[in-house]
Symmetry: C2
Subunit: 261 residues, 2 copies
Amino acid sequence: MPEPQPDTNNDPPYELIYWHVIPGRGEHIRLCFVEAGVPYSDTAFIEGGMDTLHTYISEQNLGDKVNPPPLAPPILKHGDLVISQTPNILLYLGPRLGLAAGQGNDIYKVNALALTALDGFSNEVHNCHHPIAIDLYYEEQKEECLRRVKDWVKHRLPKYLGYFERVLSGTASGEGPWLYGGVLTWADLVFFQTLDGTSYMFRKAVAAAKQSGKYNRVFQHYEAVKARPRIAEYLATEKRQKYSNYGVYRYYEELDVVADE
Amino acid sequence: MPEPQPDTNNDPPYELIYWHVIPGRGEHIRLCFVEAGVPYSDTAFIEGGMDTLHTYISEQNLGDKVNPPPLAPPILKHGDLVISQTPNILLYLGPRLGLAAGQGNDIYKVNALALTALDGFSNEVHNCHHPIAIDLYYEEQKEECLRRVKDWVKHRLPKYLGYFERVLSGTASGEGPWLYGGVLTWADLVFFQTLDGTSYMFRKAVAAAKQSGKYNRVFQHYEAVKARPRIAEYLATEKRQKYSNYGVYRYYEELDVVADE
């Protein structure tokens, strides 16, 4: 793997290709740029941006000489490079934006934490609304959703919160509130965003978890990310799109349940 | 990121920590070692191996000085390094085992393809048996499974097969049967294993897809991996564990459906 170089003025611009209207999985990438203070363009806010996006994911797109076609957004274009898959884009950006812990094998530890938050925690939350089919609307699988959500809140939410509490309790997390090596990495931003979305969706269950006192480090971690100056500023702007019932994290009152004893 | 060094006799041994009885997600890692001809140990075949595994994933495990605890297997130990998450382990091993395409940014393209096969295709297949809850048995969610499977076979299977057919048709795949850069990478092994498991599970639907002639490159790719001398030899041994109804890929006759028109 190449040793990533710091950004210079000669570096090509970073271009994020992602859906408009929803924070979605693109938000993990946005938070990295925001925390690093590095400019990027975003099809969500560009006129014609969705045309660009649809060209990339068209069934006619075979990629180019050096880039395979992407299956789905988010997509990152950086000069001649076009890559997809959220954890992969974060892996590419992390060291370049100063959001990797350090040297050597640290990157694999940060990547594992980010994958656990993204492809475990966040994907399971997403699947709460799509138990039967990704292509069907929530309204077509409402009953199954409720069954799934009740189980998820009871078994899986404590599993993930407990896991990250352990990570934060361990020696490898280092001093301070962060997940690994005593410094803020892209895994911290990913876990923050995942918990933020989950708190929006299952507000009662997350409030109960907070109240229990079992996950104090997790909730301190959440507040520590939220208080980062650039993140705090960004969250207050319109660039931070609201959660809505088109995205990963949705609020349905009937699904906002607490775990039964 | 460190430039990975070729293995030498001084390199510490590779230790795979994974469940016994099922091929599961550990199989992706095994195939990399097999193709590379690099020895590794495997808790699936070691007496007391499951004790080792349970120690790693115990809720009492806080990791060590430099490694956060893993959430779940597969886990790779290599000297002092302990990492988890299948795509992350593959990312670490790929260049070290000579299964990465080349230099520079190639690794991010291979990683994206592997993630698409693993965390898209394979996870969706897995979820076909767990629409309501990962913790519930298939027997407790049979009806929902059938609804999900019918939809998956109709909409998602062609989506993934079509996507990889496009990747193989594109210029970036290079000469020969492989997904990227004209050489066999860990993404090829991942996609092979994913399709192999899916073919076991949905034999009618995959046979119909093959018959359709729409995905000829995909099925040629599958045969090309299967015919690699070390892979072919391995698949014929007992080390290649059979699919069973405990794993990612399961066969239930009532779920072996073809897409309705």
